[in-house]
């Protein structure tokens, strides 16, 4: 290539020297860098660079990365807060679970089954609901996150099921990041208390350890008013108790050389104040318990030949318990209906990557997940309504080729075949063309297909055929997506991204009524079309000043009826500003989030909302001490999220102004 350039320039030199006088012609030798120049040239500072810029611009997708610094500076309290800050993402909350909406698609009551969540590459979605938690049941204390990488768009060609709208990979801190003992305490509104004790170290023999435990307890709101229950028999619509929340997290990570052993444990108990599924209102015994733990042995090795090998062996255990209190009367008889679900699975993965012919980087891989338990039970004191214990194993094979066509043109193709014991096989491709028009300009053209396998819950759930029946003939729902991305480094400080996309979903799995027998069941229903645009501008300035501005337009509708989807705001504007204040003693984080209204299940629309969060952080007062104070929904704006089908409430009023004070101490 250099020779070609030189030849071209030599020719150009000759032509120029003949055609015109007195023009400064570059010396070809000076266009080829000399060996010693790498010692004497200016290099951009790591302190002002975007830490993951390369990763973002080279990826065959639109990627957002949220770092620990941002998590701390913006005072994010739950994982949902992190996702909500990103273009194209929005959240709803029903005082039990948080639901993640992506690119206009957020079916109320969908347990986040259409995003794939990974922690250090380990799949978190469970094997009963295929769900992930983004609320206080999230598997990891946010303080232990190093960064969150969010890949938008279908990625089943690499990750299989659930990588439908995107993949969220949470990268944890390592022992070296703490290098000692760290403790954290926090207090907040609704009598919330949180504590954490962590120890991390990288020893001289190369062993690296991180051990952490967290505890959280909150009384929750005691003044929740629901007009739908405004009756003297139901405490005039006021739920005085039942919004309590407790969780425990444990994290263990040990690595040495190419091996990493890690384990995560999380359990949460949450009261449900909204009285879903017509349970007794204002009864704090209606509640859920959710938990997940796993152990994962990971091996990564770079062979001298340049071949990368990554292997993983894991075991996961998941449980969900629910107590729902019903009045079986008259005469009044309060009975607890119990859900007891247990999932257990193990699996193994192997990925091998290698360069071929200099221009190809080929990745081959395979995965196997074996179910040990997928048990769903529903019972009360009188009967066992549901006792389902299927056993669905899956395996997959995939390949990906990154083909460097030119220095500035990359072609990425991936294909994956997944096989499920339940419905059989599915094959999903993805292609991407990444063109660096200029060093500062990157254009990406993406096409991909993805699927979501029907969950065990959707296949087998019933309540003794009282109101619901199982359906084992559900096909996977699929998405076909095209996207164009334009990423531009505007100047030294500013970077912008524009993304235009169109998604077509076929065979959406939804809860429906069989008119023949009057029973509810899950089945492939509507086809959905969604399109939209995301614009974001990120700024990184000296002295730790960061800005993020994004605008999202999204439109999602049923292809069958043409109706706009429920729980889908059309416009979102997000502004994040992080800047040092008061001579670097304090750092401020300001977050503004505007959302247009969302259609509700009953066909109404929630109000537009503009929320403001303000966080102040200081680590200059005492050595090793970081103090942060945050006020959320600063202007006490009243705003609602749409309720789900199980709620009598069409809209659920969210928290007003709340606060949190947190102190971290690194010994």
């Amino acid at each position: 290539m250099k020779k070609l350039i030189l030849s071209f320039l030599s020719l150009a030199t000759v032509i120029c020297s003949q055609s015109g006088p007195a023009q400064a012609v570059p010396d070809p030798q000076f266009l080829v860098s000399a060996e010693e120049e790498l010692l004497f040239q200016d290099i951009s500072s790591v302190y002002t660079a975007s830490k993951y810029e390369q990763k973002i611009s080279d990826a065959p997708a639109r990627i957002s990365i949220v770092t620990q610094e941002e998590i701390q500076r913006y005072g994010y309290r739950t994982f949902a807060d992190i996702l909500r800050s990103l273009p194209g993402f929005y959240i709803s909350y029903d005082n039990n679970y948080s639901y993640v909406g992506v690119r206009g698609f957020g079916i109320p009551g969908d347990y986040n089954t259409r995003i794939l969540m990974l922690v250090n590459g380990h799949r978190i979605n469970d094997n009963i609901f295929d769900s992930v938690y983004a609320d206080t049941a999230f598997i990891l204390d946010l303080d232990l996150i190093d960064r969150v990488e969010v890949v938008r768009g279908p990625s089943s060609s690499l990750y299989g099921s659930n990588a439908f709208f995107g993949v969220v990979n949470v990268i944890t801190k390592k022992g070296r990041d703490l290098d000692g003992l760290e403790t954290s305490v926090a207090v907040g509104s609704h009598r919330s208390y949180q504590g954490r004790l962590s120890y991390g170290k990288r020893y001289q023999n190369g062993l690296e350890l991180l051990l952490s435990g967290s505890y959280y307890d909150s009384q929750g709101r005691t003044d929740l008013y629901y007009k739908e229950f405004d009756d003297p028999t139901t405490n005039n619509g006021v739920a005085e108790e039942g919004d309590d929340d407790q969780f425990n997290n444990l994290f263990f990570r040990l690595s040495s050389g190419d091996f990493t052993l890690e384990s995560l444990y999380a359990d949460r108990e949450k009261g449900i104040p909204t009285a879903p599924w017509d349970v007794e209102f204002n009864n704090s015994e209606t509640r859920t318990w959710d938990g997940h733990w796993f152990v994962d042995l990971n091996y990564q090795h770079l062979h001298e030949s340049g071949m990368e090998i990554a292997a993983r062996l894991f075991y996961d255990n998941y449980w969900y318990d629910g107590d729902y209190l019903y009045d079986y009367g008259p005469p009044s008889e309060i009975v607890t209906l119990k859900d007891r679900d247990i999932g257990e699975w193990w699996g193994t993965e192997l990925h091998v990557s290698r360069h071929f012919f200099e221009s190809h980087r080929l990745t081959l891989g395979g995965e196997y997940r074996g179910s040990l338990k997928q048990e769903q039970k529903t019972y009360d004191r009188y009967d066992l309504w549901l006792d389902s214990q299927p056993d669905i194993d899956t395996w997959a094979l995939f390949f990906q080729d990154e083909w460097t066509l030119l220095d500035n043109l990359l072609f990425n193709i991936g294909l994956r075949h997944d096989n499920y014991d339940s419905f059989g096989g599915t094959t999903n491709p993805r292609v991407a063309l990444i063109y660096s028009l200029f060093p500062e300009t990157s254009l990406k053209f993406l096409y991909g297909k993805a699927f979501r396998a029907p969950s065990t819950y959707e296949l087998y759930y019933h309540d003794g055929y009282n109101t619901a029946k199982p359906n084992t003939n559900i096909d996977p729902e699929t998405i076909e997506s095209i996207e164009f991305i334009w990423e531009q480094q505007l100047n030294r400080n500013l970077r912008s991204a524009v993304s235009l996309y169109k998604n077509e979903i076929e065979g959406l799995i939804a809860y429906t009524l069989d008119p023949d027998d009057g029973l509810f069941y899950f089945d492939n229903q509507d086809d959905v079309e969604a399109y939209g645009a995301e614009l974001s501008i990120e700024g990184k300035w000296n002295r730790g000043c960061l800005t993020n501005l994004s605008y999202t337009y999204q439109h999602a509708e049923s292809k069958d009826t043409g109706e706009r989807l429920v729980n889908s705001p059309r416009h979102m504007v997000k502004v994040n500003v992080m800047a040092p204040v008061v001579n670097n003693i304090l750092n401020g984080g300001l977050e503004l989030q505007y959302e247009s209204g969302r259609k509700t299940v009953a066909g109404n629309e929630t109000d537009n909302s503009l929320l403001t969060n303000l966080i102040l952080v200081s680590n200059s007062w005492l050595e090793g001490v970081t103090v942060s104070a945050g006020v959320y929904n600063l202007f006490d704006v009243a705003y609602d999220f749409p309720g789900s089908a199980e709620h009598r409430q069409d809209m659920l009023l969210q928290d007003g102004r709340t606060f949190k004070l947190k102190i971290d101490y690194l010994f």
Binding site: V25, E35, L38, L39, I43
Partner: protein, 318 residues
Amino acid sequence: MKRLPHIVTAVLGLLLLILIMSLANEPEVSAMNQPLIIVLSSSQLEPYLQAVKGFKKRVKDQFPEARIDTFFLGQDSTKNLVTMQKIDNNQPDVLFTLGSKATRKVQTVHPDRPQVVTMILDGLILEQSKQATGVFLNFPPAVHLNWLRRLLPNAKRVYLLYNSQENSTLYTEIKKAATVHQLEIYGVPVDTISQLPAALNSVGRQADILLGLPDQTVYSGKTAKVILLSTFRNRIPFAGLSRYWVKAGALYALDWDYHDLGRQCGEMTCRILMGDAVSDIAPAPPDKVRYIINMKTADYLKLTIDPTLVQEAAEVFQ
């Protein structure tokens, strides 16, 4: 006895002949009143100017009458052509070149003239010409490891990224030298830039330090940011290649006393002017070693650097 005068005459004649021959072979310099030295530099950056300054001082100390003509190359090929013509029109006693571009250009114009070279990275250019010697920028492996030990006494697993076709000898030398310092050296071959991300991942998992040594494939303006960011994110100390790398975020780098590099080259030049054959003057590494530290990076890595070493550093970025 009759033969004695003949023998004496013959011996005296022989001695006279030897004397004449030796006088005839005496370098021109002894007969020269004003030796001519041409200096050609690839750059006008401060380090190059410092080296030229050090060179001139050393030569002038011994040969005050010497004429030293200095030229600089630039981006403009026409100007460079004029410069090279000027050099070509002269018959210098010694050529002093700084940087590989100047060195290569001079070797095409005056391949048979003695040449002293510095501000180059390896001895390859010197090996190509029997008339060249000089001081290259590479520090010997033992020097690198010695400073690494002093600055980071707890580091054990030292990683090197290198092009196996270009730098396998260097890797072997470093590995050999490491035994003395009780360091473990792990080399990760990076033969094309595309292999760099995987190599950096491997470093991130296992290294105590990434030792940056000049390598055309691994370290360039194109890869600098990726390497610095990767080591930064993984909290791996990175021993950079020069002051500029440290300023950008590397933990430390060995650096040069450029004036002294010039002095060393001046000394070699004087020896040539005094009559030593170029082939008798072996190319040498720099006599003096300086180091530069970035304390902001040290703080981020949670490293404690011996305060004495910080004080003695040639430059400290805070």
